[in-house]
Amino acid sequence: MSTSNIAPAGSNPVMDTDAFIKGLWRENPVFVQVLGMCPVLAVSNTAINALAMGVAATFVLVMSSTLVSLFRNFIPKQVRIASFILIIATFVTIVDFLIQAISLDVHKALGAFIALIVVNCIILGRAEAFASKNSLGKSILDALGMGVGFTFALLCLGIVREVLGAGTLFDIPVLGDGFQAWSIMLLPGGGFFTLGAWLLVFSIMRERKKNKAVAK
C-alpha cells in the first residue's frame, strides 16, 4: 500500500496544531460541514444529553482514528471501508458498555442514539479522509478537534433548547418560576429551529470575516 505518498488536502507540516484547531471552528463538523445531523437534532434537547453524546462520539472518533491511522499501511484499499466500519462499531459497543457502567440514566436518555454513533458520518468521514492518510499524532489531533467541535455544536443547541424549552440549564432552574416553557423547543421541531438559527449566526460571522479580508 502506498497511500502515504499522497499529500493530504490542506495539511501543513509546520502547523501541527492546525489539525486540532480547524475542527473547532473553520471546519466545524456541524456548523460548517453540516455532518452528523441525526444525533445533532435528536439528542440536543437538553445540555446534559448533548454533552454526553458529544463526549461519547469524541471517544469513538479519537479511538477509531487512532486504530485506522496505526493500520493505514496494513489495510488494502479494497477492504478499507469494511475495516473502518468494524473498528468504529467496536468502539461504539465499548462506549455503550462504558456509559452503562457510568450511568444507566444517561444510557436510557441517549437510548438508541449510542448505537447510532456507528453511522455518524463524521467518524467514517475522518477515518477515510484524514486518519487513513496521516500519521498517528496528526490523526489523533484531528479527531480530537473534530470531536470537540462536534461537542461544542451539540452544546450550542442543547443549551438553547433546554433553557427555552424547560427553563433549566443542566437541570438547574435558570429562568425563574414565572417563565412559561416553550415545549416545542424540546420536540424535534425545536431542534430544526435552533439548528437553523445557529447556522444563520455562523454564516453571518463567516460572511463578515470574508468581507473584511476582501476589504483589506
Binding site: 497511500t3 499522497i6 435528536a42 439528542v43 486504530l67 493500520f71 496494513f74 489495510i75 488494502p76 484499499k77 479494497q78 477492504v79 469494511a82 475495516s83 468494524l86 473498528i87 462499531a89 467496536t90 468502539f91 459497543t93 465499548i94 458498555f97 462504558l98 452503562q100 457502567a101 450511568s103 444507566l104 436510557k108 437510548g111 438508541a112 442514539f113 448505537a115 420536540l187 424535534p188
Partner: protein
Amino acid sequence: MSAPDMKFTIEPPNSWHMIRALGGVGVLCSLLIVFTFQATLPTITRNKAEALERAIFNVIPGAATRASFQVTDSGALVSFEGEPKDEVLIYAGYDSDGRLVGVAMETQGKGFQDTIRLIYGYSPEKQQVIGMEVLESKETPGLGDKIIKDEDFLANFAALDATLTSDGSALEHPIEAVKAGQKEQPWQIDGITGATISSKAVGDILRSSTETMLPILHNQVNLLKRNES
C-alpha cells in the same frame, strides 16, 4: 481520489493481504469488546440492581420496605435471599406499618424495535395495576420512546383494572391498549399518538404477564402477607 483509484486497475488486489487485514482487525476488535465487557460487567450489574431497587419502590407507591420471592417452575412462591441470577422474582412491598401494599413484577416482551423490559406494581387488595416503569427499551427516539416518559401514558397505570374472576384463575377483562383518546373501560390503556405500536406492545406485555402471574399471586397472597409485621 482519482490517482489511487487508477492504481487499483493496474495492480490487482492481493487476496492474502485483504484476508490478513480483515481477519486481523476482526480479531483485535473482538478482543477489545470482550475485554471491555468483562471489565465493565460488575459495575453494570450493580447499576442495574440499583435501578431495579428504585423502580420497585416507584411502581408500588407507599412502600417502605420490600421482600423478594422466587416463583418456582410449578408456580409456587418461596422466599428468596441473596444475589439473583436467572430466577423469576417478584417483590412484595410493605408500608411503614408492615402491611402489604403491592407486588412488583418484572416482565418483558417484543417491542417495535427490540425487547422492552418493564416492571409493574399490582395491588392484590385493589386488584389493580398501580404503577409501571420501563426498565429497558430501544424504541424509536422521539416516537416509541414516549412510553418511558409520557405523563399521560404513565397515568394509565396508576389504577388500571386487573380484576380476577371469582375463582381467581383468570382476568375478568384482559388488559388491552387502545388508540389515543379511545379509552372507555378501566382495563384499557390509552395509547400514545405516534407510538401506537410501542404502547400496544406495553399493553400486550402487561396482559401476558398479568394473565400468568396474578392467578399465582391470588392463590398465595397469604404467604406474602405472612411477612407483615
